[in-house]
Symmetry: C2
Subunit: 340 residues, 2 copies
């Protein structure tokens, strides 16, 4: 076994022990708990090298070593083997999610499940409207100058909003508008709808254009952009279990979990469902959360990810277990959405 290989083994052992015990780990403890086949002195040399390279650090002289963010990064990228879920956990995922009746239910069950499996805080973004297809648009007149706009997507998501019109409209006009919108929108994705709906106004007489614009404007702006950002959060209480060091970060993190803008930045852009992504400590420093790591996965019925889900916790977290849980849940939810 070459030197470099052993150094990596040492790093792996340090990460595992530190995550398990929450205490700096020394050379002797390492050889005791892992069968590395060499003496503490050798380990010390390796540790000195690892520290030199920036993978581990000493809180103070005469204390053990602690992984740095860079160390966690290497661990996650190259050292951790995927820890398969236990079969009770797999069963829990199935029984928990199979009972879901609609999209909202899927999301709320998913977020609670993730929090429970990982014992950390979980975040699930609602499937992004912009990548799903329109199934139906419904307009309902509530009053002469007030219309309810309802949008239904192929993922089962339903968004609604009330529009106040600039002037009174009659059933005929609304009916025609409903028919035209559906004719050009059903089965399309949002980018397409957006491009076509804006032209729709021209086909009506000038006296109705303000009314049409109010409805289509609402459809585009409010329904799509506003609800793009919906997220569900659970398991914040789990974060309170971590002591001292993470305490300082607790308050800003709880605030961030309430701020959807920050939260979405934390989740990041979902691209494809497959790989679980990990952002460690300072890597998401833009949010001011330097002691927090985020494990996310895209999910969605097809090849493209519709949205992200993930778990938030201290950098000192069980990455293999968390990655496995997030990945498994994301895959299962994707399957459910595809079957729907």
């Amino acid at each position: 076994m070459s030197v470099d290989d052993r150094k990596l083994d040492v790093l792996r052992a340090i990460v595992e022990d530190y995550v398990a015990t929450q205490e700096p780990v020394g050379s002797k403890a390492l050889v005791d708990r892992h069968h590395l086949g060499v003496s503490p002195a050798t380990i010390r040399n390796d540790m000195a090298a690892l520290e030199e390279e920036g993978y581990i650090a000493q809180p103070h002289t005469s204390a053990g070593r602690v992984p740095t963010d860079k160390g966690y990064r290497l661990f996650v990228d190259r050292l951790s083997t995927v820890k398969p879920l236990s079969s009770p956990e797999k069963r829990a995922i199935q029984t928990f999610l199979d009972g879901a009746v609609d999209l909202d239910d899927v999301v709320s069950r998913t977020v609670r499940l993730l929090a429970q499996l990982t014992r950390q805080a979980a975040v699930v973004q609602y499937p992004s409207l912009s990548r799903s297809l329109v199934r139906h648009v419904e307009l309902v007149m509530l009053a002469p100058a007030r219309v309810l706009v309802v949008l239904i997507t192929d993922t089962g998501r339903v968004e609604q909003r009330i529009v106040d019109l600039p002037s009174d409209a009659d059933d005929a006009l609304v009916g025609e508008l409903r028919a035209r919108i559906n004719a050009l929108a059903v089965g399309q994705d949002f980018a397409t709808v957006e491009a076509q709906v804006t032209e729709l106004t021209d086909r009506f007489g000038p006296e109705d254009r303000a009314t049409i614009a109010a409805v289509t404007g609402t459809l585009l702006t409010t329904l799509i952009e506003r609800h793009e950002e919906r997220v569900a959060v659970a398991g914040t209480g789990n974060l309170a279990r971590y002591g001292q060091e993470f305490d300082r970060e607790l308050e800003p993190l709880l605030s961030a979990l309430e701020e959807h803008v920050v939260l979405l930045r934390l989740l990041g852009e979902a691209t494809s469902p497959t790989p679980v992504r990990v952002r460690i400590g300072s890597e998401n420093a833009q949010t001011g959360l330097s002691a927090t790591s985020v494990v996310t996965s895209g999910y969605g019925p097809g090849e493209l990810a519709l949205a992200s889900m993930g778990v938030v916790g201290p950098t000192r977290m069980d990455y293999p277990g968390t990655i496995a849980a997030v990945g498994a849940v994301a895959r299962y939810v994707s399957k459910i959405l595809a079957a729907h």
Copy 2:
């Protein structure tokens, strides 16, 4: 000034100082900070009496006194004067809430406003459906055996749900059903609707009854009962600011804030909007939160409260300020709902 009056003054001073400093307060500190006009020795006698009666307690011998739950209760009921909000605060309430565009927006702004004003965690229950009136019910066919049910209330709340029918239905049937439901439901409250809608099935032919029952069943069960419980939460991060003693309660409290069932029990039944209610520490022990106090108020457009809003924090909180804030926000939101 009689003895009893001064004893109450002493209790008031103890509560105020303890809330401000977070430290047990002794006799000397009291006479220094408040002009009580008597010597520390006299205060000591009064304190001994207050302790005897259970209003204050000593963490340990030779420490100052701390209010008990019973002491806080007396303080809230008889000793605290309503602290009027500062005019910047009043302005903040107006500017913050006047920008709201719909009911969801009102609720989400309200909860954030409350959290910010009180620097604690805020909870706002969505206006209860069961006390509002039906404005419109819409049925939309999505597929031969699939119908979207939309319910709109006079508070502007919109609820929707997709129903899978036991057998295919045609537009005519759905249209007739829509007309009949609206005929008997519009303008009614939910208790009335519930009673009448169940009879509706009888007016259709036996072959359609299963379909009708599916729709009406959804309308009643899911829309009403399920969404009765919606709540919004904000400001959980503020709770992390409290140290030591409250730390133990932090995790169960954060969990409770995610559990809508517990949360609604904490908010309690809203009866009438006017009085702000305070539940102190052990008074809501059923939830297992013995160091937590809750300040709530009902709100709603009329005489009856549609729902509750409130603030959750440690027993050692600024009751006059919190009560004033909750009361003012509840009144302002009620006004907005009435104007709508």
